[in-house]
């Protein structure tokens, strides 16, 4: 029984699967490429060598000139004639991107465009990421049909059997009419939204049939193709069906007679889904959570970094003169110095001789400043003492801010609304003046307070600061966002804004200053994914110390 055998080998042996994927890629470069997640080692080398010994390597910091071609500056300078170099992308072939998890968004975008043009490039991305959130840029991963994790594969699992001979041309493979709807139903069932996924599944099925010398796609091909192309894209685990044995699968006959005359596949959806489910990673849900967490941060946007106004100089490094790079003149001279005698002799020219390879580029390390937003409850229940301590804590934190590069802002909420008492600042004098008169009393509009804090946090992160919100309160929310005294609506509003804050990955601390810990605040902290600190009768020193501890310095 071919079907059962194949399934067993596929689900158990990653190496076989990897080899199959590569064979399919060889047959149909339109499948784009493969992402292999594994540490550098013999298994990985074996795989790449097996696929294409002549593969060319790309590294994550490859320049545009190397990719697309351009002026060969060194050769032009040396020969005095215009020397153009040809880019790697000019000739179709296999490209291996090493350390793919480090590829910048810019590089990913350029490679994605190259793959979109369908010029016969096949890209193997070797992802060496160690942490779950170090992965290949999703823009590029989207354009690959396959994704395999070889981290648990050892060299003894590998074999070097050459690719099989195939005699059937890809375009001659017949595709049964009901196959496409079936692929699409399966993809939808797995929560795959992209239209590229079913397209890859279709191509892979066709290639798989051709690989095995069939002139028509059978249910086997379809299962193998869907398992390889859909499993890693799944965003939800389909409901497992009841465990009973499916009634005698009709596809056994089909696969035996290679489907000469069958127009349809007759493969139940459940079986196809089962084949894919067998390959779903065990930690799918964790991975999805990690992806979500990453999504908010963006990748390579200027906004996150541009606010870094200062940088610590790092040792300079050899590099090319490009846009924005600063030349380290001393470093360059130092690099060129030892060669001066030889160069003078070789060229017969007097004076300082500097070659492109000598050029050293300045580098800076940047760290973004932090903004602490205190959202302080100034309602009747908290009253004046609470607020006084909060003010004290703000001043204490600011006093230490110079060393830690913190900015501080203060939002007070009372009555029906929140007020920004202190816009983000590092000025101690300004803070003292502004905090002197802070009125108290009224209801607890927690939602409004969070909202104002959120607005400040968004503005701050746009300016390149890293915001953290510290919420100081002792009671439950009792004023809704629209200012009405509705306890229930107030709680709903507060939770909703907390969810938005969390979705934006804003760090937060909830400090409960009540005499007894308030369960509503604990659950708010959970929604915020924040630390919850019950601190009854906290004074300014204690407060600032706790905040500093939670912030981790």
């Amino acid at each position: 029984m071919l079907h059962g055998q194949w399934k067993k080998s596929l689900a158990s042996d990653i190496w076989t699967r990897a080899k199959l994927a590569l064979q399919l890629l060889q047959l149909d470069p339109g499948l784009g490429g493969i992402c292999v997640r594994a540490r550098s080692g013999p298994v990985r080398d074996q795989l790449v060598k097996h696929f294409d010994p002549k593969a060319r390597k790309l590294h994550p910091t490859i320049s545009d000139e190397a990719l697309f071609g351009g002026l060969d500056l060194s050769a032009t300078l040396a020969s005095g004639q215009l020397v153009q170099e040809k880019g790697i992308l000019a000739t179709p072939g296999t490209l291996v991107l090493v350390m793919a998890e480090r590829a910048t968004t810019g590089l990913a975008a350029r490679l994605a465009v190259a793959l979109d043009k369908n010029q016969g490039h096949v890209l193997i991305a070797l992802d060496e990421g160690a942490e779950p959130d170090e992965v290949l840029n999703p823009k590029l991963a989207e354009r690959f049909a396959f994704h395999l994790d070889l981290s648990n594969c050892t060299i003894s699992d590998t074999d070097t059997a050459g690719p099989k001979e195939h005699s059937v041309r890809l375009n001659d493979v017949f595709v049964p009419s009901d196959m496409l709807p079936q692929i699409i139903r399966t993809a939808l069932e797995l929560g795959i939204d992209s239209m590229r996924a079913p397209l890859f599944a279709l191509r892979a099925a066709r290639a798989h049939a051709a690989l095995l010398g069939r002139d028509s796609v059978t249910s086997d091909d379809l299962e193998a193709a869907c398992a390889l192309t859909l499993a890693h894209r799944a965003t939800r685990i389909p409901e497992p069906e009841t465990d009973e044995e499916p009634p005698a699968p009709p596809q056994d006959e089909n696969s035996d007679e290679s489907g000469e005359d069958n127009e349809t596949l007759d493969l139940p959806d459940e079986l196809l889904l089962e084949a894919v489910r067998a390959l779903l990673p065990d930690d799918l849900l964790d991975q999805l959570a990690a992806q979500k967490a990453r999504a908010g941060r963006g990748n390579g946007t200027g906004a996150a970094r541009k606010g870094n106004r200062r940088g610590r100089p790092l040792p300079s490094r050899a590099g090319r003169i490009s846009d924005g790079a600063k030349i380290d003149i001393i470093g360059t001279l130092r690099a060129a110095a030892p060669w001066q005698t030889i160069r003078r002799d070789a060229s017969g020219r007097e004076g300082l001789q500097i070659r492109p390879a000598d050029i050293q580029i300045k580098r800076f390390e940047e760290k973004s400043d932090r903004l602490l937003i205190f959202a302080v409850d100034a309602s009747g229940s908290s009253a004046l003492s609470r607020l006084a301590e909060a003010k004290g804590a703000v001043e204490l934190l600011l006093a230490q801010a110079y060393a830690r590069r913190d900015h501080v802002a203060l939002v007070a909420f009372r009555g029906t609304e929140a007020e920004l008492l202190l816009p983000p600042t590092r000025s101690l004098v300004q803070t003292k003046r502004r905090l002197a008169a802070l009125p108290g009393g009224g209801g607890t509009p927690l939602a409004a307070g969070l909202m104002t804090a959120f607005e400040q946090a968004t503005q701050a992160s746009r300016r390149g600061l890293t915001p953290t919100i510290a919420i100081l309160t002792d009671g439950r929310a009792n004023i809704a966002l629209d200012g009405t005294a509705d306890r229930k609506q107030a709680a709903i509003d507060a939770q909703q804004i907390a969810r938005i804050l969390r979705a934006n990955n804003t760090d937060a601390i909830v400090i409960d200053t009540g005499n007894r810990p308030e369960p509503a605040l604990r659950s708010l902290a959970q929604t915020l994914n924040a630390a919850y600190l019950p601190l009854p009768r906290a004074d300014a020193a204690k407060l600032s110390k706790s905040v500093a501890t939670v912030l981790g310095d």
Binding site: T105, I184, S194, R196, L199, G296, T301, G302, A303, D323
Partner: protein
Amino acid sequence: MTPFPFSAIVGQEEMKQAMILTAIDASIGGVLVFGDRGTGKSTAVRALAALLPPIKAIKGCPVNSAAAKDVPDWAGLVSKRAHQMPTPVVDLPLGATEDRVTGALDIEKALTKGEKAFQPGLLARANRGYLYIDEVNLLEDHIVDLLLDVAQSGENVVEREGLSIRHPARFVLVGSGNPEEGELRPQLLDRFGLSVEVASPKEVATRVEVIKRRDAFENDNAAFMLRWQAEDATIRDRILTARKSLTKLKTPEKMLTDVAELCLALGSDGLRGELTLLKAARAYAAWRDDTALTRAHIRDMAPMALRHRLRRDPLDEAGSGTRVARTVEEVLG
């Protein structure tokens, strides 16, 4: 490889409509397409290039000038003969350097001939055409600032490396991106005339059709192109007709009031919203072969012309498109 035919794109009517409108009236000011990966954003933009009617330009002119007198001196053209050329659609890749975008000193000429010459950049090539930025929300800030300035003034000014050059750079900005990966600055958002949100179709039958056409395009290219080229030509003719009838289109005073009232009720920032909505509605009326602007046109165009100009409300989960639709309902009835 020829791009996928525009007319063969299944569904995504709003996106297609928006792109056609910019082809009818370039002054609408570009399209922003936001949506998930694999929803056909890039396909549609690249398809647009093949769809657009050709333009008349001086052969070899780096900024695609229409008349011989407009050819810049630094181009050094000897013969100034006009020819038909396809409307330029220029890709601006992420991480493109400032040199490549604005143009810079021509290193080749400087090194080999010792001449100080200007090498035009992407902005020059995009003049009178389209500039396409994929993943526009991930674009680096200094490039964004540069684009904002040029998109506003329609002129690219280069002052660097001892060069002092200015040349026209009027283009339609087309951007696409995935909003989950990063936000677009409000200033850049405002520069786009229209914005559309795309999602992949949810019905199995539609999805099957998408894959079928894509598969036919890749495996049986010649026959597929033959079939859809005629459809593309129909759209192209309609665009040309609409361009002509746009000048004769009547705009009743009442419609201007409607547009102003709508924008006031929505609280959209600035006056660009009103202008764009009016232009888009007029282009839409011309496309539909109507002789006068009516409320129906404004109602249909309001979401794509205004949805990206609203103040963001983090509590509004329905998205700003729904907010616009609701206000349209209230104001225009």
